[in-house]
Assembly symmetry: C4
């Protein structure tokens, strides 16, 4: 988003004297901004509409409800779709640079939220894809100015990003482990226990076990199978400590990185250590 804005601002500076009709300006204010009362009301109304449309979509799949309220669901679905379609085109209409909006993250999500409804007219069974609408709910952060939330969210993302490589190695190790143990289990239980009838299914069982999910749709029958399963479980119990350790270590590091608000008066660098006396970027006294 920031890159887009940067590019936009840059262009904007060159051909500044933009003049939309007052209606388009007003519309832009209502739809895209949340500073005015009208803008805020529109955004909250939109959020409620999105939520309702998702709930409708989910309840529609409940057989008991669908049988009794088929027409209600169909009507509601089209009301939401038409509302979102109108909204989508209004957005294109009142934005300064439609192309930027259309290809932005929110623009694509907005389009994907309405497309499936129309696609169902051609290809049946597509409308379940409308669940994509859920992504529109992330607008909530923008509306309520949840900057503190975004900051904290970024901290988590940074921590996860920081431990990306460790977690990848961990995931690969787990995949290799479940493959080997799954195959071993197949060798042990196959023939005796009809549940372990193939290596892929045995690997599935091993994942269910090592992650401590344990459905119980598959469970070892033979004493030796139960013995191996016990070892796998105990390993899973200890191994779960690894990703936790990785992420915790990163979160602690990230939390320490933004502990104060000391900003260098010379180069305005932020994120200094608490005991720092000089800016570590420009050497200026803090």
């Amino acid at each position: 988003m920031s890159k887009y804005k940067e590019y936009f601002n840059q262009k904007e500076l060159k051909r500044k004297p933009y003049s939309f009709s007052p209606i388009r300006e007003k519309l832009h204010e209502i739809i895209f901004e949340a500073e005015t009362t009208a803008g805020k009301i529109f955004d909250i109304a939109l959020l409620i509409m999105i939520l309702l449309s998702i709930i409708t979509l989910m309840l529609e799949t409940v057989p008991a409800y669908y049988k009794n309220y088929k027409t209600v669901f169909l009507t509601l679905e089209w009301i939401f779709t038409i509302f979102f379609t109108v909204e989508y085109f209004l957005r294109i209409y009142c934005v300064y640079r439609p192309r930027f909006y259309i290809f932005s993250f929110y623009g694509l999500v907005d389009l994907l939220s309405i497309l499936p409804s129309y696609l169902t007219l051609v290809i049946p069974g597509m409308h379940s894809l409308m669940i994509v609408r859920g992504l529109r709910l992330t607008r909530v952060f923008r509306i309520f100015k949840l900057d503190a939330f975004i900051e904290q969210g970024n901290l988590i993302l940074n921590a996860l990003n920081d431990s990306r490589r460790k977690l990848t190695i961990f995931a690969m190790t787990i995949i290799i482990m479940v493959s080997i143990f799954g195959s071993l289990m197949y060798l042990i239980e196959n023939g005796i226990n009809p549940q372990f009838d193939s290596i892929p299914r045995s690997i599935y069982w091993c994942i269910v076990t090592i992650t401590t999910v344990g459905y119980g749709d598959m469970a070892p029958n033979t004493p030796f199978g139960q013995f191996l399963a016990s070892i796998i479980m105990l390993m899973g119990y200890i191994i779960i400590a690894v990703p936790t350790g990785i992420v915790t270590s990163s979160i602690i590091k990230e939390s320490k990185m933004y502990p104060n608000t000391i900003t260098c008066k010379n180069c305005s660098k932020e994120g200094h250590a608490n005991e720092a006396k000089y800016c570590d970027k420009c050497g200026f006294e803090l």
Copy 2:
């Protein structure tokens, strides 16, 4: 509680010369205080009564017991209710400012502990609400002067409060994730597996899976469903590291905040061990 006390003390100072009858004074000492032997015995007896009333309440719902001991349960229930009712009115009678007690946390809990019994006379089936009595057990901290426990409990609460925003974002992310994966699972398993007959139920399955609970009342049947389930499980396994990392980081921070405040008078070094007698930087006596 502390705010209430503060306010109370403040008022108390203004109109001090309170004089209750000796019986009311004595009653207050027994019921509200735990310094005297009588007060301690009353408090412990009360705790045992509360515990017994909760156990009675729970056992009452066991069909086998209820059938055989119906009258015993009914008798016990009314004995406890009458005891707690008398206690409640005695508390109001002997407290200096009844209104403060009635609207305090413990006052409301005390009221809610007896109300359901009387309500059952009017509306049947309400007496299960008496489980609220469990909250009365928190008095245990007061009686045994478990200040150290309260301090530690506050540390945990502070840590949770400190990581409130991160946990909220995490919970929201999980909710969005389970909605998307639940819907995907519905698309894959619906029609083949009767267990995945609606999106809400598929989301329920996804929560059961991602939290590693794994009842097994619903489990994917199709190979592709099992493949997606495996990915969800592995994600859940790694994702559980996030709240742990958040809370651990906060608890470490909170624990560090109250280590001690010993500062060397010579070199003003902080962060000494609790049992330190000399500054470990300059050797000066602390």
Copy 3:
């Protein structure tokens, strides 16, 4: 143990000239010490005997094995029991102060390892208690001089001891939570779902769920029950972070406490901070 030794040494100093017959001395060396070859062989043989006796005990309970090898099991059991009985009396015979041994931890465990066999002659079905023999295996640490292991084990115990209060509060909170949610679940599912037929069983279900065990022997049927279950699961998922955070924080603190081997030359205090220049107990320069 150290206290016992201290006391023992103290007494020993007073009436030193102990003189056992050379056989008793030799026996003591073999049975109680592991410095000589004979002592080591005895200890390893003992460990193997203990392990074998436990395995025998466990396999004996497998119906298929018991039916076919009843006499083998009975013979083995009495061989082990007689061996351990002889060993027990030899220990009493050759130790300097029998009373100290008999009432020491190992003395009591040794007695409890043989008693159940004899008790079965009087009261049948008692011999399952022989599982207590497992505790004898902890001798392994002594034999193999696993001091480093003991030190690390102590670190964990110290960390757990340090977070004792926090974990107690956490456990109490969980117990209150599962009582309330279990009761709520009973109110919702009772009558519709025969599995939730009493509050104690509903609480059992709630524990199974919140700890993410999830057997699946009980699972909610009603949509609202599944909704509440989802909330409980997500809470359990996040709440598991609390004990982890508590213990991790303590282990980090404990690990930091013994990071180096700096010992004060003056007062021989250990466990100084890495950057310490002066002993914080006596102020002596390190």
Copy 4:
């Protein structure tokens, strides 16, 4: 590997003037190195072959597929085996010191990847062992020069190695705990619940429970059994914090060990941020 290389280089220095035929030199470049385009293509092709052979092996065990595509699987298996056999002998042919390759980790894995196929000709049912081929996939790190990944992987391994003793003690404690609780459960449920028909099976149940896997293939029936199970579950819930705490503490320590080694030339302060240009204590340029 590094030791092998060292030794190799040492010997190499002594009898340097090695001269292979250009074909052997070229082959070595293609098979063993990944610097040239040909070498890279070979390595990627090999990786794909390995992956395909593993997938074939797994799908072969699915009864439905095996019945229909028996000959396809057999053909594919032999194509892969012959390809890997040729590759293995080419490696031996073109390497400077065949013996070093044959007894290196990769050499043994390469041999074990082809042996089972030939063994099946003699002893049927051995070809499941070919899953060992999965280990060949670890070559991926070498090909894509994933040094950063290896470094991070080493950090995790160091952390696990560092906490080896603590985790061993923890595992032993868990094993003793599940033995004792499993036996107790056997005493309680045996006779009433046919699932708990032996101590080994009860211990298996206890492991399933304490690790929070919870298949549900075995679950307590008696009220007292469910009560003990509840306690075991709550213990498992809290105990899981121990390995997590151990590993997290180690990972934090390891992460801190390699931050950087930048030291201020002026005041010799250590522990600067990676991007720091000036010392944050004295302002001196780093």
